[in-house]
């Protein structure tokens, strides 16, 4: 049985969605104008429905819905460089995000361990971290393109550099704030440093580390869209920009929808990981 609480939640949620659709449709209707008459057929072909039929500049919910449905039913078609299915574009973006992200994890987590365990390292490296952390990842793009000379690798590099900071600072914090008594237990049991790191410090700091990883994946997914708009070629960011160049607002809106869905899924995966490593005292 569905609980009354759930029923309430679903009702409100659906209500908001319906209001949104009605409002959207109302804007579309309000935007409709007069259809022009007596146009030169060639000119009319160039201008599109907005001039010839007086259609609104804003696509209707129905148009967007059918566009999204079209993408869902046929996500992997490939009709040349400028016309690939949204599934292929998303796959490119996800691949870039994941490779940059895992490279960052590979660097940030061990480095965070080191910094968290040694006060000297913490104090020595802190100025650099504080200096680099606030830099917009896209500011690295020209430098990356200049040095790496490959747009795809540059995009991965930008993801790497933006994912590294939350993971690094969280790992450092998590490792530095492992309860002293756990380390004392480990010391009185003469546990070696590697075993202490793996059996005590890592599980103790894991919730904080995974929180950092969750923040990182969110930022990485935000940045990839912007990065791909710059480097072009493939990816969901390029797809959005391409749809804009085609003046296909329907395409832009459906791309926004897909970006949201993927971002949500990535976050949910990390939330699951967080639940696995969390512990209560």
């Amino acid at each position: 049985m569905v609980s009354p609480q759930t029923l309430k939640v679903v009702t409100v949620s659906l209500g908001i969605f319906i209001c949104f659709l009605i409002g959207w449709q109302a804007l579309v209707v309000a935007g409709q104008g007069e259809a022009a008459t007596g146009l030169d057929p060639e000119y009319a072909a160039l201008m599109g429905a907005q001039v010839t039929e007086g259609a609104s500049a804003l696509p209707s919910p129905g148009d967007v819905g059918s566009e999204i449905w079209g993408h869902i039913t046929n996500p992997f078609y490939d009709a040349g460089p400028n016309d690939k299915g949204v599934g292929i574009q998303l796959a490119y973006s996800i691949a870039r995000v994941l490779s940059g992200y895992f490279l960052a994890a590979l660097v940030a987590i061990p480095l965070g361990f080191l910094i968290g365990m040694s006060e000297t390292a913490q104090r020595a490296l802190n100025p650099y971290i504080q200096l680099m952390k606030p830099v917009s990842p896209l500011a690295w793009m020209p430098l990356a393109l200049y040095t790496i000379k490959d747009s795809n690798t540059s995009a991965v590099f930008v993801i790497f550099i933006c994912s590294i900071w939350p993971m690094l600072t969280n790992t450092t914090f998590g490792v530095a704030s492992v309860r002293r008594e756990w380390l004392d237990v480990s010391r009185t049991l003469e546990v070696g440093s590697l075993r202490t790191a793996l059996r005590v410090i890592l599980p103790a700091a894991a919730p904080t580390i995974v929180t950092g990883m969750r923040i990182s994946i969110g930022i990485a997914w935000l940045v990839i869209v912007a990065a791909e708009m710059l480097v072009g070629g493939t990816g969901i960011g390029y797809f959005v920009w391409n749809e804009w160049n085609n003046l296909s607002i329907t395409g832009v809106i459906s791309a926004i929808f897909f970006i949201g869905v993927v971002g949500m899924c990535l976050d949910m995966i990390l939330a699951k990981c967080a639940a696995i490593v969390s512990y209560s005292e």
Binding site: V185, T188, L189, E281
Partner: protein
């Protein structure tokens, strides 16, 4: 009550059974001084001299702030002494060792491990070469000893405060150390739980003949558990005022302890110290400096 004391300050005469037993741990002029950031030095205690013999249960009583935990951490090797030294089996210690297991006031269990996982972590550290089965058998045996045989796979968060401390005790006993160091292990528990845990500790110590050193501020706990009770004055510059020998013979049971004729003499003596004498400094210091007075309160 003072007139009931039999002072035994001399070392001469026939050695008693206790003096015959081997010394497990010994402190020699042990001292600790903390230096604050503003360079002011605080001498927590100095010139502590006492020893613990094999199979003996020794309690240390003192008010908070006399450096009890610092002392225990030093015996455990977690803190360095500023002066003096600690000998275990006549060898000076340098850092923590599996010879000296600790039971922490806050149980210090790893919350991501199960009860048996926590104990087994210690067993694995002590005997890494043992087979997995043998390690688990050892862990299970000691959890059974503290009556947790049915909660092996529970996480600490699913256990009550008393059960958590039982796991902490099992972890310390399971590695069969030369000496067990307990830092007010029952102070965070309610009176009923505390009582049953004290009973269990009495039983386990009898069965294993484990040498123990325990810090407490509970007089009755000390009388029940300890063969000797070390009285420490308030800090800073705390020192061992007296060593009281428990004149109630073993086995001691919580239910009948208070009926023993020596119970009130000991209890009153300890209470008198905590209430009236623990603040005394200079006058007694010179007497107590290197050889604390040994007292046997009895009827």
């Amino acid at each position: 009550m003072n007139q009931t004391h039999k002072i035994d300050g001399t070392e001469s005469g026939v050695p008693s059974e206790e003096q015959m037993r081997t010394t497990v741990i010994e402190t020699i002029n042990l001292g600790k001084t903390f230096v604050s950031e503003s360079k002011t030095e605080t001498e927590v205690f100095n010139n502590l001299n006492f020893d613990i013999k094999a199979g003996e249960f020794v309690c240390l009583i003192g008010h908070s702030g006399c450096g009890k935990t610092t002392l225990l951490n030093m015996l455990g090797g977690l803190e360095e002494p500023t002066n003096g030294s600690i000998l275990v089996d006549d060898k000076e210690i340098s850092g923590p060792s599996l010879d000296r297991a600790m039971v922490f006031q806050s149980h210090a269990l790893m919350p991501w491990m199960t009860a048996i996982g926590n104990v087994n972590f210690a067993v694995q550290s002590k005997w890494p070469a043992w087979s997995k089965k043998k390690q688990l058998d050892q862990s299970r045996k000691f959890l059974d000893l503290v009556h947790l045989g049915t909660s092996l796979d529970k996480k600490p968060s699913e256990l009550s405060g008393g059960m958590k401390q039982r796991v902490g005790i099992a972890r310390a006993f399971a590695i069969e150390p030369k000496i067990l160091l307990l830092d007010e292990p029952f102070s965070a528990l309610d009176a009923l739980t505390r009582g049953s845990l004290q009973d269990e500790l009495v039983t386990i110590c009898r069965e294993t003949n484990q040498t123990c050193f325990m810090i407490t501020h509970d007089i009755d706990e000390a009388i029940l558990l300890a063969d000797r009770i070390i009285l420490m004055t308030n800090g800073p510059q705390a020192y061992v005022h007296e060593i009281v020998i428990n004149t109630i013979e073993k086995p001691r049971a919580r239910s009948s302890l208070y009926k023993h004729e020596n119970y009130y003499p000991i209890r009153n003596h300890l209470m008198d110290f905590l209430v009236n004498k623990s603040n005394l400094k200079d006058a007694l210091r010179s007497v107590a400096n290197n050889k604390p007075k040994i007292v046997k309160p009895a009827k």
